[in-house]
């Protein structure tokens, strides 16, 4: 019997986003930047810490956005890359006594290599299968970190405690504030680099693959290379975010990096708007503050609130914060007239 095969034309995994719509205008960017620079001067330490986490999660969501919004690949496994980054920084600082700032590029590089390597098998998967494979990776990661023979380095279930750095050069600011500005500089650097990446030749290759993989390969785009590269870059940025996260929280443990984190990051991307880089920070705010608020209302409620809000986003504003931003812009321009 000859092979009977089903032929399906698959809709693209994500809806196409026009290239220009992926970033903010210059004016808006400066206003946001100004707010981010000045805000910590007026708030308490705990809020500064939360703002630092906002930037860090923002970076991680941005990384996922490059992968999904840019190249159309899925990942429910970003927590694994985040964990690898966090552990790399923590181990280098605590076991090798390395300066915290130096550990970050190493964390990024290791995660880039890890992501690139994982991208190899992932090449053959698309859509729902890739979601499944990355989901599997995220679930496995905490178990792997608890393993017996890496326990000496990872601290096993106990995890590792990380020392929080002081401000250098005798700068007159507290640890929290210093770490915030440190993170802010890195975040802005990576954001600008990401915007440029997506505008570059590689970015166009990503988007060609996202919109139609077969057509892209027919146009001469090296699909395998760019898909793995997207995974690598995404993992690398997530790794830096993980490293920063370890420093900010001063602690790494396997159970901080469960599938819940991966799902949160995924939700952050959906809420922020897939493919809209500035939306990453909105998404990060959503995943940090919504559970807090929900838990303060009733314990165990956060899942339900999360889920219901997500359904609302899917049904009413399927393009997330980007859609709201566009509507707001239209309303504003009407007022100007």
């Amino acid at each position: 019997m000859s092979a009977v095969e089903e032929v399906v034309t698959e809709a693209p995994a994500v809806e196409a986003v026009p290239k220009r719509a992926m970033t903010l205008g210059l004016g808006t960017s400066l206003v946001v930047l100004g707010a981010l620079v000045l805000a910590p001067l007026f708030v308490k330490n705990f809020i500064i810490f939360q703002m630092t986490m906002l930037l860090i999660y923002g970076l991680a969501v941005l990384a996922l956005n490059i992968l999904t919004g840019g190249s159309g690949q899925f990942s429910l496994g970003q927590s694994a890359f985040y964990a690898v980054g966090a552990y790399t920084s923590a181990i280098l600082m605590e076991h090798a006594g390395m300066n915290y700032a130096l550990t970050l590029p190493i964390a990024g590089l290791i995660c880039f290599a890890f992501g690139f390597a994982f991208g190899q098998p992932a090449l053959r998967l698309s859509g729902i299968y890739l979601a499944l494979a990355t989901f599997a990776l995220a679930v496995a990661m905490p178990q792997l970190l608890k393993l017996h023979f890496v326990e000496h380095w990872t601290g096993g279930v106990q995890g590792l405690v990380v020392t929080k750095p002081d401000a250098p050069f005798g700068l007159p600011m507290g640890q929290d504030m210093w770490l915030y500005y440190f993170t802010l500089v890195i975040t802005i650097g990576i954001y600008i680099a990401s915007v440029n990446l997506l505008r570059s030749r590689s970015g166009r290759a990503f988007m060609a693959i996202r919109d139609n993989e077969i057509a892209a390969s027919a146009m001469g785009v090296d699909v395998a290379l760019y898909k793995t590269l997207a995974f690598g870059v995404s993992a690398g940025i997530t790794g830096v975010a993980g490293g920063l996260g370890a420093i900010a929280v001063q602690f790494v443990a396997p159970d901080s990096y469960t599938i819940t984190l991966a799902i949160s990051l995924f939700l952050g991307m959906v809420v922020g708007g897939v493919g809209w880089l500035p939306g990453s920070i909105v998404g990060a705010a959503f995943i940090i503050f919504v559970p807090n608020i929900a838990e303060s209302i009733s314990k165990g409620l956060s899942g339900a609130v999360f889920g219901v809000l997500l359904f609302i986003v899917i049904f009413l504003v399927p393009h997330g914060a980007r859609q709201i931003a566009i509507v707001a812009q239209q309303v504003l321009s009407k007022f100007k007239k």
């Binding site: 019997m1 000859s2 009977v4 095969e5 089903e6």
Partner: protein, 237 residues
């Protein structure tokens, strides 16, 4: 003769693109009508609009009942069988299961069994292969299966979308002979969309020619077949 299907001012759209620009035609009960035209003229769209598979406006009446607003499956349940372009074979199911699916809306189980036998009489090759997966059939066999599947509905009207597509000329002749027989013996009204105009005009008694979503010519099939101008400008042979 009364008209069985009445189409008035049919306009159809794919997204923003309008594919049909106010098409009107009627099919007489028991007739075999062909709809001719070049690639992209809107032939397939017309058939799909009748079954509500594309967004369309205008009035379509089948035996006096309006079809607009009905779902595709409900249109089919009224007795309109549609053999789609590309045959729509359920490739992973067996030949016999494909035939059973044709009668899935019917409740007269005994007649279904005898109808399957009748299809095997029409198309003996299907009987030989009734346990095979339908995807293993050749193109011509799959087209026969598609026609047989449509007939299993015991339709009042059958719509065929380019049944000759991709088939060897000899097989096409056989197939068209069977279509003629079905039209005469089973009293099934047939609307067949074709690019192979010569053959379709031999078979049909009525013909419409459409171009870029408008009907440009209609009449008796023989008259159209013998009209030199029409042949040269629209049918290209």
């Amino acid at each position: 003769m009364t008209s069985m299907l009445n189409v008035k001012d049919l306009r159809a759209y794919y997204g923003q693109v309008q594919a049909l620009h106010g098409l009107s035609f009627a099919l007489n009960e028991g007739s075999l009508t062909t709809l001719l035209g070049a690639n992209g003229a809107g032939k397939t769209t017309t058939l799909r609009a009748i079954c509500n598979m594309v967004r369309s406006t205008g009035a379509i009446e089948f035996e006096g009942k309006p079809l607009s607003g009905q779902s595709t499956e409900n249109v089919v349940r009224l007795g309109i069988a549609h053999v789609p372009q590309g045959r729509g074979t359920f490739t992973t199911l067996t030949v016999e299961e494909n035939l059973q699916l044709g009668a899935i809306t019917r409740n007269d189980r005994k007649n279904i069994v005898s109808d399957i036998e009748r299809m095997y009489d029409h198309f003996p090759v299907l009987k030989e292969r009734h346990t095979q997966q339908a995807g293993t059939l050749s193109g011509g066999e799959q087209q026969m299966l598609a026609v047989a599947r449509a007939l299993m509905l015991r339709p009042r009207l059958m719509l065929l979308d380019e049944p000759s597509f991709g088939l060897a000329p000899l097989i096409v002749r056989d197939l068209f002979k069977i279509l003629g027989k079905i039209n005469r013996e089973d009293k099934v009204t047939i609307l067949v969309v074709e690019q192979n105009a010569q053959l379709a005009l031999e078979l049909a008694d009525q013909a419409y020619v459409i171009e870029t979503g408008r009907i440009v010519m209609s009449g008796n099939a023989k008259d159209i077949a013998t009209n030199e101008d029409v042949r040269k400008s629209y049918l290209g042979y």
